[in-house]
């Protein structure tokens, strides 16, 4: 297991550098820089004026970000800065270190993503089990109909629908802003509902498939009932394939929150990310992208370790073989 983790961390380091190089290259390839965008209009002074800093500071900025240095020096200063947590200053908000910007916004995005995944997994397992127990009954059919509906409707439509019903019509929940846990409810639901759709269908089929396994016949032969068969045996074994599906969902969600954040006016990282990209705010682009990539890679590692907890064959063989 230790070897497995060490190997995975090795891969993560390689991926991290690949991501950083690609991001840096794409960022540079995009026409115009933060400074140039303003420079083209009226020179350093105009640029300085437009972002409200003195020409001296502007020149200092140019020097600080090595904008006049060769690309590898620039690249390395970003990566090294990230690795040593000396994130540097945003160009858009020159008085705020990017670290502070990220520290303020990342927890919001992260908690929305994690909460919605957790909610989706819990609800999907419950719905899947219920539908599987009553396979081919009206309960099964209606649960799966709702689930299909959930899958078919994208998160932003769900968001509008929820905002309309619970915010505008019923006045139960706030629709915009962020001043406490109540403001989380609708964004989390909007992200969770489409996931619940696909995951619960998956869970149902997975449990039904497990129930057709021969070891379930043995459970019945021992005097067990459907309850024992599902709760003691089929459920755990159905979670193994579920983990496979949830993993990519988590990664996707880290980015999926961007849209929902802007719809509900949440001060999350999505907004920071989007403006950074459009304003060519190099330090902010680099730092937020690198942070996302690290978080996603850590999540994937966590998911892979989960396999071992669920499946003794993977755990006991030291994660050596594939799933």
């Amino acid at each position: 297991m230790l070897r497995f983790v060490a190997q995975r961390v090795g891969y993560m380091i390689i991926s991290f550098f690949l991501v950083s190089i690609i991001t840096f290259w794409l960022m540079k390839a995009a026409p115009g820089s933060f400074l140039e965008l303003n420079l083209t209009v009226g020179g350093v002074n105009a640029a300085a004026q437009s972002i409200n800093v003195s020409p001296e500071l502007m020149r200092a900025l140019v020097a600080q970000y090595h904008l006049d240095a060769p690309w590898y020096v620039q690249y390395w200063s970003y990566v090294w800065g990230f690795l040593t947590l000396h994130f540097g200053y945003s160009m858009e908000f020159p008085t705020t270190p990017t670290l502070q910007l990220i520290a303020r916004t990342f927890p919001v995005s992260f908690s929305i993503a994690i909460l919605s995944v957790a909610l989706a997994v819990v609800v999907s397992i419950a719905a899947g089990v219920m539908a599987a127990i009553r396979e081919h009954s009206w309960l099964d059919a209606s649960t799966m109909f709702v689930a299909t509906l959930g899958t078919a409707i994208p998160a932003y439509v769900v968001a509008v629908l929820l905002a309309l019903v619970f915010g505008v019509w019923l006045h139960w929940l706030p629709v915009i802003g962020f001043q406490g846990p109540r403001y989380y409810v609708l964004p989390v639901l909007s992200l969770a509902i489409p996931m619940i759709g696909s995951l619960s269908r998956y869970m149902r089929n997975s449990i039904i498939q497990s129930l057709h396994a021969e070891y379930i016949v043995a459970v019945y032969a021992k005097g067990g009932g459907l309850r024992d068969a599902i709760l003691r045996h089929a459920l755990k074994n159905s979670l193994i394939p579920l983990v496979t599906v949830v993993g990519p969902h988590i990664a996707g969600l880290m980015m999926g929150t961007v849209l929902i954040e802007s719809m509900f006016g949440l001060p999350g990282m999505g907004q920071v990310f989007a403006t950074a990209a459009s304003r060519r705010d190099y330090p902010l682009i680099m730092d937020s992208t690198l942070l996302y990539s690290v978080v996603i890679m850590l999540m994937n590692l966590l998911v892979d370790l989960l396999y071992g907890i669920l499946d003794p064959r993977i755990r006991k063989r030291g994660y050596a073989e594939g799933r």
């Binding site: 396994a213 070891y215 019945y220 032969a221 021992k222 005097g223 074994n237 003794p312």
Partner: protein, 327 residues
């Protein structure tokens, strides 16, 4: 004394889309307490289906009729709740492929104590102690440590021993063994057979042994039922297997066992295909199509004809057998 298990006129059909499979077509079978009985037949003869019907494990797609009397009550009339009281307690079952009949993600111990837990016989820790004892009894060394292992960490032969021990956790009156040695190596096969036979005698429980192997059946059982196409063609004491068999099918089966000694001859076999039970049943004898002794009378289905003490056969030839011994 009333028999422990008395099956009469058991019929099982499976309905799928438009076809109806006549898996079992009126089987009478009787098991006395403490007795070992074998059901022998080719694959598809309905031998496993009969015992799955006894356990009521066939699922919703199966239509079961007839009477299955267990300790004086009709199992087919019992509500599911009452059936669960019997299943896995008074009646245990072991299966052909132990590695697929054990959950790969649960330890041997967790699975072994389940019969006791399901029937609320004892606490988990008491069950665990019993499991250790039983594993020792079935010849698994270092049982306490084995309980913590997962099925993939044991060999096929060891897993089958675990399955046997698991079925014995509740001290059943009847153990149903569905081809328990078919998936094992030949040497391991013999060990498991000897073990089963020994346990059956020691514990005084009845055993129904399902197999396609006549030699194995003769070794383990005192009585043999021969099944074909969902019918019982012959029922005889195991001791008579080599001397008096009445049905041409059984003679054919015995003839097709290869011999290691003696001159090499082409392997005799029964020509033709086994009865396809999905295609509807013939009017007359089910074996007639493949029978070397077929006669005009075979267009009528023969009843079970008394041949000798504890020996009956569903063949018109058996009528003559009573008076004149087979060549």
């Amino acid at each position: 004394m009333a028999p422990l298990l008395n099956i009469s006129d058991l019929k099982v059909t499976f309905h799928a889309d438009r076809t109806v499979v006549h898996a079992v077509n009126g089987v009478d079978l009787c098991v006395d307490a403490g007795r070992a009985v074998a059901i022998v037949g080719e694959s598809g003869s309905g031998k496993s289906t009969v015992m799955m019907a006894v356990m009521r494990l066939l699922g919703r797609r199966a239509h079961v009729s007839g009477r299955i009397e267990w300790d004086g009550q009709d199992l087919l009339a019992l509500p599911e709740r009452a059936m669960r009281q019997i299943r896995g307690r008074a009646m245990g079952m072991i299966f052909q492929n132990p590695s697929s009949y054990l959950n790969p993600t649960k330890t041997i111990g967790e699975q072994m104590i389940e019969p006791v837990l399901f029937h609320r016989i004892a606490s988990a820790s008491a069950a665990r102690r019993q499991a250790v004892q039983l594993l020792e009894q079935v010849g698994i060394p270092d049982p306490e440590q084995r309980l913590r292992l997962y099925p993939f960490e044991l060999s096929g032969g060891q897993l089958q021993r675990v399955m046997i021990a698991m079925a014995l956790m509740t001290r059943p009156k009847l153990l149903i063994a569905d081809e328990p040695t078919t998936a094992l190596d030949v040497t391991v096969q013999a060990e498991v057979l000897v073990l089963l036979k020994r346990l059956q005698r020691e514990l005084g429980m009845a055993l129904v042994f399902i197999t396609h192997d006549l030699a194995v059946a003769a070794q383990v059982a005192e009585e043999i039922y021969v099944m074909y196409g969902g019918f019982i063609l012959e029922h005889l004491p195991a001791a008579e297997l080599t001397q008096r068999k009445a049905h041409p099918y059984l003679r054919g089966l015995l003839g097709s066992i290869p011999r290691l000694d003696g001159p090499r001859t082409p392997l005799p076999f029964i020509p033709g295909q086994p009865l396809d039970t999905a295609r509807g049943l013939p009017e007359g004898c089910v074996f007639a199509d493949r029978c070397a002794h077929r006669m005009s009378r075979c267009a009528q289905r023969p009843p079970m004809i008394h041949v000798g003490s504890g020996h009956r056969a569903a063949c018109w030839l058996a009528e003559e057998e009573v008076t004149q011994v087979w060549p």
